[in-house]
C-alpha cells in the first residue's frame, strides 16, 4: 500500500486550496472589522454581537431553521416509504426507479425551481385547472408552502437514494431469521429493518438539512424577495452591502449551528443503536 501514498498529495493540495483556505479566510473576516483590504484588519467580536443581539436577525435564523427542519421531516416521511418500496423490487426494476428519481437532478436546479413558479402562479397550471371547476384561484406563490415544496422537490432524491442504498445493503437473512423466531412483519420492520437503515436516514437528513438551511435561491424564487432566510442575509452582505466581515460572521454562526446539529444527530443515532442491542 505504501507505494500509493504519494498519490494522496494532489488531493491534499486540492483540499487545501478549495476547502481550508476559504474557511480560514471566513474565520479571518469574521473576527475582524475595517473593510476588505488586508492592511486594515482589526480584531473584533462586533460582527457576532451585531447578529446575536438583534431580534430581527434571530427571527430570521429561527425561520431558516424551522423551514429546514420541516423540509427534512417531509423528505423523511416521503423518502422512506419510496426507498422501501423500490428496494423490494427486482434488480432491473430497481435500477429503473433509481434512474427515474435521479433524472430531474440532471437539469439545473434554477430551471426546475423556475418551472414551479409557472405551476403555482395565480394564473398558473394548478389554478387554471381548479378554475375549470369554478374554484377561486388559490395563492400558492410566496408562501411557506411554496418554499417547502420547492425544497422538498429539489432535495428529496438525496434522501431516497441514501435510504435506498442502506436498505439494499441490508442482509435479508436477518429478516428471515426474525420471522423464523416468530416476529410478525411489523416487528421485523421496527426491530430489524428500521435500525439497520438508520445510517441511510441519518446521512439523508444531513444531505437535505444542510442545503435547505442555507439555501437562498429557492426562497427567493418561490417565497418572493421579502422571504428572508439566513442565506439571503449572507448573500446581501457580500453582494450589496459589501460588508464581508459581517457576512463571514453570519456564515460562521451558521456553520457552528450545523456542526452542533450534526453532532446531536450522530448521538441520537448511536443511542438508538445501543438501545436496539440492549433490547
Amino acid at each position: 500500500m505504501k507505494q500509493f501514498r504519494k498519490m494522496v498529495y494532489p488531493y491534499l493540495l486540492w483540499s487545501t486550496v478549495v476547502i481550508a483556505v476559504p474557511m480560514l479566510l471566513i474565520l479571518l473576516y469574521a473576527f475582524t472589522s475595517g473593510g476588505n483590504s488586508v492592511s486594515k484588519f482589526m480584531f473584533s467580536l462586533h460582527n457576532f454581537k451585531r447578529f446575536l443581539t438583534d431580534k430581527t436577525f434571530l427571527e430570521v435564523l429561527y425561520r431558516s431553521l424551522r423551514i429546514a427542519v420541516e423540509t427534512t421531516v417531509v423528505c423523511v416521511l416521503l423518502g422512506y416509504p419510496a426507498a422501501y418500496i423500490i428496494a423490494k423490487y427486482s434488480e432491473k426494476v430497481k435500477m429503473r426507479w433509481v434512474l427515474i428519481i435521479t433524472l430531474p437532478t440532471w437539469i439545473n436546479m434554477l430551471v426546475r425551481t423556475y418551472a414551479w413558479t409557472g405551476i403555482l402562479q395565480e394564473d398558473g397550471v394548478i389554478n387554471s385547472f381548479l378554475g375549470l371547476f369554478g374554484i377561486e384561484p388559490v395563492t400558492f406563490m410566496y408562501t411557506d408552502f411554496a418554499v417547502i415544496l420547492g425544497m422538498v422537490y429539489n432535495f428529496l432524491p438525496f434522501m431516497i437514494i441514501q435510504i435506498y442504498t442502506s436498505l439494499t445493503k441490508m442482509d435479508y437473512s436477518l429478516i428471515e431469521a426474525a420471522s423464523d423466531l416468530g416476529a410478525n412483519p411489523r416487528k421485523c420492520f421496527t426491530k430489524v429493518t428500521l435500525p439497520l437503515s438508520m445510517p441511510g436516514v441519518i446521512s439523508g437528513i444531513t444531505l437535505v438539512f444542510l442545503p435547505s438551511v442555507s439555501s437562498f435561491c429557492i426562497p427567493r424564487m418561490l417565497g418572493g424577495g421579502s422571504y428572508v432566510m439566513v442565506g439571503t442575509i449572507i448573500e446581501s452582505q457580500f453582494l450589496t452591502a459589501g460588508d464581508w466581515n459581517f457576512g463571514s460572521a453570519i456564515s460562521l454562526i451558521m456553520a457552528i449551528i450545523i456542526m452542533i446539529s450534526m453532532y446531536i444527530t450522530k448521538k441520537v443515532d448511536k443511542g438508538e443503536k445501543l438501545e436496539a442491542i440492549n433490547a
Partner: protein, 353 residues
C-alpha cells in the same frame, strides 16, 4: 493505434484553440446588465469592425463592482450613475476624450445638465447609454388616476390595495420612495430621516402584504396580476405597450432619475476598439435598434424625436421619456454610510412581516 487517436485528438484540440484564441480578429470585452442590449447590436458591430465581442452580464452594480475590483479586465462597462461616481473616486476609470467620438454631438442636451450630469459633470469619464426614472405603474380600471396623482407614493400604503402591490426588491429604490414620500432627500445622511423612512417601509410591509420581486414585476404587471407596482421607466414602457389598462406616474414629491453610462476601466486591453464601440452605440441606427428592443429612453436626440413623434413606437407612452427640469427629482450619489445602513435596514424591513 490508441496512441494515434490521442495524438490526433490533441492536434484537433490545439487547432480548435487556435481558431478561437489566436485568430487575427481584435477582441473587445464588455460587461453590462442582463437584458439591456438589443440582440442585433453586438453582431452588427462585429461585422462592421471585423472584431470579436465578448459579452458578460451582471445582476447588479454591486455585483459588477465586486468582480472588477477582484481584478477582472474589461474594455467597456455599463454601470449606473452612483456606481460610476464611486469608480471615479476610486481611480478605476480612464478619462474619455469625447472629441474622438463622432456621434457625441447627438447625445441629448437634457443629460448635460442637472440633475442628470451630477456624477460626471463634463462627461470626462462616461458616455450615457440609457436614462430613466422610477415611478408607479397602476391598473387604471382598479385604481383611479386622480387618486394616484393626489397621493403619489403614499398610495402604496393605502390598505384598500393591500395584497395587490409589487415592491421592487432593492434597498435603494424602496428607501427612495420612502424618503421622497416623507419629503426628504434620498441622499440624506440624517439618522433621524433614515429611521423615519425605515418606519415608513416597515409599516408598508406589515400592513400591505406586498409581493417583493425584481424582474418578475414586468411579467406580473403585463399580465395584470396586481394593481400597483414600483417600476423603472423602461420596464414600465414595455408593460404599457403590452397591457393598455396600465398607466405610469412619477409623483409630484419627486423621484429617482438615473443614467446608465459606458465607461472604460484603466486596465482595459483594447481602448481604441472601446472608443469605436461607444461611438457605435450612440450612433442613430444602433441607438434606434437598442431602444426599440429594450424600451428605455435613448440618449440620442434624433432617436428620441423619431420614436416619440406621432405614430412613432413610443408615441403616447408616458413612461418612455423621463421627466426633466423637475427640481425634486434626484440622481443617487455614492455614499458608503447610507449604502451600508440601507442594506442592513432593508433586510430588516423584509423580515418584518
Amino acid at each position: 493505434m490508441k496512441k494515434g487517436w490521442l495524438v490526433s485528438l490533441a492536434v484537433l484540440a490545439l487547432s480548435m484553440m487556435c481558431l478561437t484564441g489566436c485568430g487575427s480578429k481584435e477582441k473587445l470585452k464588455i460587461y453590462l446588465p442582463g437584458e439591456y442590449m438589443s440582440d442585433e447590436l453586438v453582431p452588427n458591430f462585429e461585422k462592421q469592425y471585423n472584431c470579436k465581442v465578448d459579452v458578460e452580464l451582471f445582476d447588479s452594480n454591486e455585483m459588477m463592482y465586486t468582480k472588477v475590483m477582484a481584478g477582472d479586465s474589461y474594455d467597456v462597462l455599463i454601470p449606473s450613475d452612483y456606481m460610476i461616481e464611486r469608480l471615479i473616486k476610486e481611480d478605476y476609470l480612464q478619462k474619455i476624450d469625447v472629441s474622438k467620438l463622432s456621434n457625441f454631438g447627438s447625445v441629448t442636451d437634457a443629460l448635460k445638465v442637472a440633475p442628470y450630469n451630477g456624477f460626471d459633470p463634463d462627461n470626462s469619464y462616461s458616455v450615457p447609454y440609457f436614462w430613466g426614472s422610477v415611478g408607479i405603474v397602476y391598473n387604471q380600471n382598479n385604481v383611479p388616476t386622480s387618486e394616484v396623482e393626489a397621493k403619489g407614493f403614499e398610495i402604496m400604503k393605502d390598505t384598500k390595495y393591500s395584497g395587490k402591490i409589487y415592491m421592487y426588491d432593492s434597498e435603494r429604490d424602496s428607501f427612495m420612495i420612502a424618503f421622497k414620500s416623507l419629503g426628504y432627500s434620498m441622499n440624506t445622511n440624517e439618522e433621524s430621516e433614515i429611521m423615519a423612512a425605515y418606519d415608513w417601509l416597515v409599516e408598508l410591509n406589515t400592513t400591505m402584504a406586498p409581493t417583493t420581486v425584481t424582474d418578475e414585476v414586468i411579467d406580473g404587471m403585463a399580465q395584470g396580476r396586481k394593481d400597483l407596482a414600483i417600476v423603472y421607466s423602461g420596464d414600465a414602457a414595455y408593460i404599457l405597450s403590452e397591457n393598455e389598462d396600465m398607466r405610469y406616474y412619477t409623483p409630484e414629491c419627486g423621484t429617482n432619475v438615473w443614467v446608465d453610462a459606458m465607461v472604460i476601466p484603466k486596465n482595459a486591453k483594447n481602448v481604441d476598439l472601446a472608443y469605436k464601440f461607444i461611438d457605435y452605440v450612440i450612433s442613430y441606427d444602433a441607438a434606434m435598434g437598442n431602444t426599440e428592443a429594450v424600451g428605455y429612453a435613448s440618449v440620442n436626440k434624433d432617436v428620441l424625436a423619431e420614436v416619440t413623434k406621432e405614430g412613432g413606437l413610443y408615441d403616447g407612452n408616458e413612461a418612455y421619456i423621463p421627466r426633466t427640469g423637475f427640481a425634486k427629482d434626484e440622481v443617487f450619489t455614492d455614499n458608503e454610510f447610507l449604502r451600508k445602513k440601507l442594506s442592513e435596514l432593508w433586510i430588516k424591513v423584509k423580515a418584518s412581516n
